[in-house]
């Protein structure tokens, strides 16, 4: 196996050293988000721990996606959207004027609700990120990254013999794994996932959930989900949003077994939502 890939695994073990591990990778302080005059998020304070899966849950319209999209500034694309407060990635304010959103998104990747592969070949889908970010200097390095990413996304076996076929020709679950492979190919620190399984059948969902658990080793993952079972299965920490407020955060187990807030209690027992 090639250098880069071994180095990448090496990098992960470095990251796993307790010394680096402690500080949260993202810290959000007093985040308010407005769509025009309408306030969608109210004073959100949330830390995202490194190399863990954090799930965001809550009833529809409570602002989960909005918060998630603040973390890599995808909200910039919405003209009327305004973000106030302080969000730091590794101690740097990501809304600071000198920040280049493009560079930010290289470090904070995203997987969307509906699989959205480019209508290009499987290979080009994955090679696109490394190409535009200038991560490789030769074709063979690029080949290695493509293979590594597909392997990490558990898709290599299924597609290794048809890399030049269009990515849009894969099944829904395969497409979503392709999107995950595409996201990790640029070696981000954090991967944001907005309901990544909502368009998939249970078997494909299970595959992705396993994948998320494996990816945790190397990446920090934030996932929005409507399924409490899914949150319980894949995440170590959970944050419960309600009507634009962050009601409660904690270790997933504690939050689901002994929630502190009544609203959380009602939600996980199915009384609101």
């Amino acid at each position: 196996m090639n250098n880069i890939v071994t180095e990448m695994s090496g990098a992960a073990s470095v990251q796993n050293k307790p010394a680096v591990n402690k500080a949260p990778i993202f810290t959000a302080k007093n985040v308010d988000v407005y769509y025009g005059a309408k306030q969608a998020l109210d004073k959100i304070n949330l830390d995202i721990p490194r190399n863990k899966v954090t799930s965001l849950i809550g009833p529809s319209g409570c602002g989960k996606s909005t918060f998630l999209r603040c973390l890599n500034r995808m909200n910039d694309l919405v003209d009327i959207c305004r973000v106030e407060g302080d969000i730091q990635l590794e101690g740097q304010d990501i809304y600071a004027p000198e920040v280049d959103v493009v560079a930010l998104r290289q470090h904070v990747g995203m997987v969307f609700q509906k699989p959205n592969p480019f209508p290009k070949s499987i290979y080009d889908n994955i090679a696109y990120g490394p190409r535009i970010h200038g991560l490789t200097s030769s074709k063979s390095e690029l080949d290695d990254i493509v293979e590594w990413s597909l392997q990490r996304a558990g898709l290599w076996k299924e597609v290794s013999d048809r890399l030049q076929e269009p990515g849009t020709g894969l099944s829904g679950g395969q497409q979503q794994r392709l999107c995950i492979a595409r996201a990790i190919a640029v070696r981000p620190e954090v991967i944001l996932m907005d309901e990544p399984c909502s368009a998939l059948d249970p078997i494909a969902t299970a595959t992705i959930e396993e994948l998320i658990d494996e990816l945790r080793e190397k990446f920090t993952i934030v996932i929005v989900t409507h399924s409490m079972q899914q949150a319980a299965r894949v995440s170590q920490r959970t944050a419960f949003f309600h009507l634009g407020n962050l009601v409660e955060t904690g270790a997933t187990k504690t939050l689901f077994t002994s929630p502190e807030d009544e609203r959380t209690q009602n939600y996980i027992t199915g009384r609101i939502g």
């Binding site: 180095e7 000198e98 920040v99 493009v102 930010l104 470090h107 535009i132 200038g134 620190e189």
Partner: protein
């Protein structure tokens, strides 16, 4: 040390991407420049028309141009022959233009509207898929072809028909040009109205049909009233098209500046006169040549007003049902 080690050990670099900012700025600049071309063209049109027209109005007062009823532009035979400039009253041209456009609209409105109604409310998808493109062919045929056909076939036909019932039809009658122009704008009206009718929400149709109305009653009492603003917009657009149409009138309507409302007589139009004034030998400074620009300005203003109004109406209509 590998790049990731560097990245995690030191600060994450989120302040500068790997791409070239200058290139992107240049690209964006080029994009903006290209879209400004549209404004530039408009400005160019307005300025060139205005500038030449002002020079024309230095020689011929605007009131004479707008209200004079005699049009016979003559070029001076000698440079000192001011009086031989001729008469520049545009009224006969305006009435001629309106007469021909009116005839065209009389032909195109019923044919276009009924086609649109049939296609959107009655026709099967198969019929639609066939008939719509066929109708669009009418819009795709160059106007010089219509002009040729009007002059060669339709005008003589009208003339001989007229003779057989004892009417004297001019061989360059307004009727021939108007009829053919009407056919040309049928597809414009039918496709615009078709869009408009299709935009009427299904719920309105269901409501009327649910009360036991027949299809035609639903169309007349519910759909058409709801679609009226949009249809009006499309008719205005068609009228503007008719007023600005050139080749058909150049070839079939001729140059006789008669002030008449009789469709069997020869009339001339603004566009036909512009062509007549500017083709062939011309000295650029004569009142005759400059008058073409004054006519062009008049044409531009009138069609612009019609277009702006119709676009406003259509947009408002769209928003209403969005």
């Amino acid at each position: 040390m590998s790049p990731e080690n560097a990245a995690t050990a030191a600060k994450l670099n989120i302040t500068a991407g790997n791409r070239s900012k200058t290139v992107e700025m240049i690209v964006t600049g080029v994009l903006i420049a290209c879209s400004l071309v549209a404004i530039l063209v408009t400005v160019g049109i307005v300025f060139s028309l205005l500038f030449e027209s002002l020079r024309f109005f230095e020689r011929v007062p605007m009131s004479e141009f707008l209200f004079g009823t005699k049009w016979s532009p003559q070029t001076a035979l000698r440079a000192d022959q001011v009086a031989a400039d001729g008469a520049f009253g545009a009224v006969p041209l305006i009435t001629g233009t309106l007469l021909i456009s009116f005839i065209a609209m009389c032909v195109a409105t019923p044919l276009g509207l009924f086609s649109a109604i049939y296609l959107s409310e009655y026709a099967s998808k198969r019929t639609r898929d066939w008939v719509k493109p066929l109708l669009e062919i009418l819009a795709g045929i160059p106007t010089v072809v219509y002009g040729f056909f009007a002059a060669l076939v339709v005008a003589p036909m009208l003339r001989s028909t007229g003779e057989s019932v004892g009417l004297n039809v001019s061989s360059e009658s307004a009727l021939a040009a108007g009829l053919i122009m009407g056919v040309m704008i049928i597809p414009l009206i039918s496709s615009l109205s078709d869009d408009v009718i299709n935009a009427v929400p299904q719920s309105l149709r269901d409501a009327s049909l649910g009360l036991g109305s027949t299809d035609s009653e639903t169309i007349r009492n519910v759909i058409l009233p709801a679609a009226i603003p949009g249809i009006a917009g499309s008719l205005l657009l068609a009228a503007s098209r008719a007023i600005g149409e050139t080749m058909i009138v150049v070839m079939a309507a001729g140059l006789a500046a008669n002030l008449t409302a009789n469709p069997l007589e020869a009339v001339t139009t603004i566009t036909a006169q512009i062509v007549a004034l500017l083709t062939g030998d011309q000295e650029f400074d004569s009142a005759k040549t400059l008058s073409a620009f004054a006519l062009g300005l008049l044409l531009f203003i009138v069609t612009l007003i019609l277009n702006v109004i119709s676009l406003k109406i259509v947009n408002k209509y769209r928003e209403q049902y969005d």
